[in-house]
Amino acid sequence: MGDTPEKNVEAAGTHGPGARMTMPDLRAWFAREVLPHEARLIQYLRRNWRDKSEIEDLLQEVYVRVYDAAQKQLPEAARAFVFTTARNLLINRFRQQQVVAIEAVADLESLEISADEPTPDRTAIAHDEFRRLQAAIDRLPPRCREAVLLGRIEGLTGREIAQRMAISEAAVSKHLTRGMSLLSDLLHREPLLNRDLGESDPS
């Protein structure tokens, strides 16, 4: 049970005075600086953790640790902080498991994170954004996609969508929930879309 991951994280991730943030600032910071790394982060976790059914929970754990730490002190280099947190979490889990895949350790050891890597060029991404959205929307199940499009493009309310699709409001609610949930994965994780993030693999 050795050292806590938090200790490692803080040693590796935060520098300087940092700043206390208000809640809206913190939320905005998280959306802007942390979420864009999700595709890479998922890739990293998948490669290093055998049980794929636990990836979602690991991701959440990383996010919670980053968020809670940022509440106390804002890390200067968000990307480095996120990946260091992930690494420390995995190391900790390996220790608890006592069964460690050798490749995984090697991968973890060699993990180097450069803090000053350029953030993706936002204007370049903006140009692809529309296409990216289309690709994501295309991958929704048909009814789900229909509900989302009626809501998003035509600006219909849930009730209006129900009328248009001739289904119950509860069913619309289900389609929208599913649609939003799937879109959150598709949009945050589509690796080809984040080409600037995707090329600079740390391992």
């Binding site: 493009i153 035509e154 001739a166 409001e169 609610s173 929208l176």
Partner: protein
């Protein structure tokens, strides 16, 4: 372990966040709902993060309606405001043509012509409760007497919402075909190569004008779209959504759903006098989603520039799109 694994899985929490978000975005939302959501978010960092993450992705899909964005302000009220705005526009454009009581109509024989200019829409309300909506650049003649109600679509596109009357059939003639109402709402479009008749509600029959008994006829049910040319008549089916998309002009909006830029610009051209040119075939093939006010060329250009990253130049009165 430094902390015990939380009981709900990350997937559960994600689902719950989506649940909350769709409730806020699409259904009635009270102060109490907001307070409950705030409480849920405050319960744990995992909840908070799941919601930020869900909202972040959903906000990105805003671009789907990007063409419309200049007209919206904030999420909730805008939807109402938008549809209200559309309704006001529709109401302002609605032209009530009727004079006299319904009896007068039935005896009313003379043929009368109605038309719309490019970018204009008109609604004709008939005494029997039926209505006809003319889309951009459309011309019809209307003739009504005791025994029949008859429209000739000379050009353009019109939507018919007809009160069925067994004794007084309603027919629409266009391009050598006749559509006979059997209690319906339908759309007739004669602005492209083929004549298209889309049935939205009820039933209708389409047949060749001169040889009604021959094989060139079909009975249409909702969702059917008859495509008729001089030599042939075929019927395809469209989804409700596809039909709704075709009818979006009634609200002054063009909806693009996986539409190529070439098609989109073609549609836009129907409502605007300005000419569009796509300089590059690769650009013409790019597809878009979105909704655009039919007569707002500037909004379309804005999105072509900022969202699609295209170069848009205006020269010699033409609007040129290129990479």
């Amino acid at each position: 372990m430094t902390e015990p694994a939380p009981l709900p899985t990350a997937a559960d929490i994600k689902e719950r966040a989506a649940e909350w978000l769709q409730r806020r975005e699409f259904w009635t939302w009270s102060k109490k709902d907001q307070a409950e959501l705030d409480a849920w978010r405050a319960q744990s960092s995992a909840h908070e993060i799941a919601f930020i993450r869900m909202e972040g992705a959903w906000n990105r899909t805003m671009r789907l309606g990007a063409l419309r964005q200049p007209m919206r302000q904030t999420k909730r009220e805008t939807r109402a405001r938008w549809s209200f705005a559309l309704r006001s526009v529709a109401a302002a454009l609605a032209l009530v043509v009727l004079a006299g009581a319904s009896v007068a109509w039935l005896n009313y024989t003379p043929e009368k012509t109605f038309s719309t200019a490019i970018g204009e829409r008109k609604t004709l309300k008939l005494a029997d409760g039926s209505s006809i909506q003319l889309n951009t650049d459309t011309q019809i003649t209307l003739r009504m007497d005791a025994g029949q109600r008859h429209v000739e679509l000379l050009r353009g596109e019109a939507f018919f919402d007809i009160h069925h009357n067994d004794h007084v059939p309603f027919t629409v003639a266009a391009r050598g075909y006749r559509v006979i109402d059997l209690g319906t709402k339908f759309l007739v479009r004669a602005d492209r190569g083929d004549l298209e008749v889309s049935l939205v509600e009820g039933k209708a029959r389409i047949e060749v004008l001169n040889k009604p008994r021959q094989s060139h006829s079909a009975e249409l049910s909702p969702g059917d779209v008859a495509v008729a040319s001089a030599g042939s008549l075929s019927v395809v089916r469209k989804s409700q959504t596809a039909l709704a998309t075709e009818l979006s002009w009634q609200r002054g909006v063009l909806i693009f759903d996986n539409t190529t830029l070439a098609e989109a610009v073609g549609e836009l051209g129907r409502y605007n006098r300005r000419k569009f040119v796509i300089a590059d075939p690769a650009v013409a093939r790019r597809t878009i989603y979105g909704a655009v006010p039919a007569t707002d060329v500037e909004a379309f250009i804005r999105v072509a520039r900022s969202v699609m990253g295209l170069k848009v130049e205006q020269r010699n009165g033409e609007i040129v799109f290129s990479q």
